[in-house]
């Protein structure tokens, strides 16, 4: 009997050990990632880096146009996606009665989320750049990013809508408000939290994407601020890609780290804002 006891005990100790080891390895790898990006990147960042333009293929100079290009594309993308997402959620929530359509819509959104980012780029290339003949355009990039963000924003908005306590709607109806008024005064304002949170999460993802936009919206040099819709822009992720291919040049590598750090700070900023928005707006909404 004591031998069985020992084997069980040994297994337990062994299991506990590999669990702790795994956690340590995971923590180690992931901390290493963040720390190295931070440490290597911080050396490249200066006011000059952030506000001047790239020279010599990015080996010297800064990333101002890349920064502006990235921000422009994702912010316009949000402007495109929010109306569609809100409309779609509204459709699911207030206007759709057929179960089949509701199911199909939900599955379509999840399928959209599953499509790899490179495929979005190829789709954009086929559909917009060639079939619709728009050429390389930052606006097309925004449209593609908007499509990518659609599931996230729609689902977040829809969740917020369904989370509205039924009592609000019942009260409103009891007060004699029409359906359109209920939607405008109760449903939409109460789901603002979902819209904002979903948008910020979508922004955090979109600003880091390279593959969807590298064929259809970006150029390597010569672009500053676009003056029309049909021009390319430079963006942070594509800039990092270009620099990563010059990895034996220490200057280029340093700038790549700097650009990466800036990108991650932006992503984190959007994510943190999403977290705050969730709690702040939720409190506001309940007043």
């Amino acid at each position: 009997m004591s031998r069985t006891f020992n084997i069980r005990y040994a297994k337990e100790r062994g299991f506990a050990f590999i669990m702790r080891l795994s956690l340590l390895i995971c923590a180690g790898i992931l901390t290493f990632l963040l720390v190295s990006i931070f440490v290597k990147g911080i050396g490249a960042i200066s006011l000059e880096f952030l506000f001047t333009s790239a020279r010599e293929f990015g080996r010297s100079g800064g990333i101002i146009y890349q920064l502006l290009g990235s921000l422009l594309m994702v912010l316009v993308a949000i402007l495109i996606v929010v109306p569609v997402a809100v409309g779609t959620s509204l459709f699911q929530y207030a206007f759709n009665t057929k179960k089949g359509i509701a199911y199909l819509l939900e599955q379509s959104l999840y399928a959209l989320n599953a499509i790899p980012s490179i495929t979005y780029g190829i789709f954009g290339l086929i559909f917009f750049v060639n079939v619709l003949n728009t050429g390389i355009s930052w606006f097309v990039g925004s449209i593609i990013l908007a499509i990518m963000m659609l599931p996230t924003v729609t689902l977040s908005t829809y969740q917020a809508m369904t989370a509205i306590p039924k009592i609000y709607q019942e009260n409103a109806a009891a007060l004699g408000l029409k359906k359109s008024q209920i939607i405008r005064r109760v449903t939409l304002p109460q789901s603002l939290q979902g819209i904002v949170t979903g948008s910020l999460i979508g922004l955090a993802r979109a600003i880091g994407e390279t593959a969807p936009i590298m064929f259809i919206a970006t150029a390597f040099s010569g672009v500053s601020v676009p003056r029309s819709l049909a021009e390319p822009v430079s963006t942070l992720p594509t800039h990092i890609l270009e620099l990563a291919q010059q990895s034996t040049d220490p200057q280029a590598l340093q700038n790549a780290w700097g650009a990466s750090l800036v990108l991650i700070l932006l992503v984190s900023a959007f994510s943190l804002l999403a977290l705050f928005a969730r709690s702040y707006l939720r409190r506001q909404g309940r007043k």
Binding site: F220, V223, R227, S228, Q245
Partner: protein, 275 residues
């Protein structure tokens, strides 16, 4: 709320109506450095913006042919196949410089004694028939064969000379890289590698081989030999235009051929057309 949103959209859309005469250039990573520098200077002088993109000679041609760019950069000539595919368009190649594709090796091998090879030896290395540096006078180490993406002008020039077919496969390849930058990186990081680089990318870690001709003569990859055209892998660096070129793009090509542009070509390590 919706009205403000609508106004914003309208403002953005009105911006769409303005069509600037920006010049869009794309293609070979070899031709990119001088063109990119010239673009900066040209923009500063004339205020016309010039947008430059890489992507390889093949990609540059395709974009030009499909109307997505104004000027294509190619480090080789247009193939008959490409002309076939776009029969209705008139293309013109304009050489803005000349350089050579140099079979390059890691400095460790170069310093160990392998400073020249014959074309057939290089061919055998790339087809996998010669596998060890000792077979060509070097140390006992496996040859690390670095190939390039098939659509790159540099590769097509190289394969045309070495294997007689610009689209030949390299059965002995161990790694495939894209731009000149990537190829250079791969060669620098290895100590037994051979690859194909434009002469402007050679440095202390990546040395260019001299070629031994069948008649016994040795040709170094020097500027004089490239200028004279005696180095076997000499090629023109071209910008390609369509017949329906916009005037600002023509202006830019003239700039490239002018003294300022040519100075930048030479500063990039290539040879100007005047020579």
């Amino acid at each position: 709320m919706f009205k403000k949103f609508g106004a914003l959209c309208l403002a953005l859309f009105s911006a769409a109506c303005s069509a600037p005469d920006a010049i869009y250039v794309s293609g070979s990573s070899t031709v990119l450095p001088p063109v990119s520098k010239a673009a900066e200077k040209f923009s500063a002088e004339t205020g016309i913006s010039v947008i430059v993109n890489a992507g390889g000679s093949g990609g540059g041609f395709n974009q030009l042919a499909e109307g997505q760019s104004d000027i294509g950069m190619m480090s080789r000539n247009i193939t008959s196949g490409e002309l076939e595919a776009f029969k209705t368009i008139n293309f013109t190649e304009v050489a803005i410089g000349r350089d050579a594709v140099v079979p390059s090796i890691s400095s460790e091998i170069y310093e160990a004694g392998v400073t020249l090879l014959s074309i057939s030896q290089i061919a055998d290395i790339y087809t996998g028939d010669i596998r060890n540096w000792s077979e060509v006078g070097g140390p006992d180490r496996d040859i690390f064969v670095i190939d390039k993406e098939a659509n790159r002008g540099t590769r097509q020039v190289f394969m045309d000379v070495v294997l007689g077919d610009p689209k030949a496969e390299a059965a002995g390849a161990d790694l495939v890289t894209g731009s000149n930058n990537e190829e250079q990186t791969a060669l620098v990081q290895s100590n037994a590698g051979i690859g194909m680089l434009s002469v402007a990318w050679l440095n202390d870690d990546v040395r260019g081989l001299a070629i031994v001709l069948p008649n016994g003569k040795t040709i170094e990859p020097s500027i004089e030999n490239i200028r004279a055209g005696t180095y076997p892998f000499v090629r023109d660096l071209n910008v390609v235009k369509r017949s329906d070129l916009k005037p600002s793009a023509n202006q830019f090509i003239t700039y490239l051929l002018g003294p300022d542009g040519q100075k930048l070509v030479e500063e990039s390590g290539y040879i100007g057309i005047a020579n």
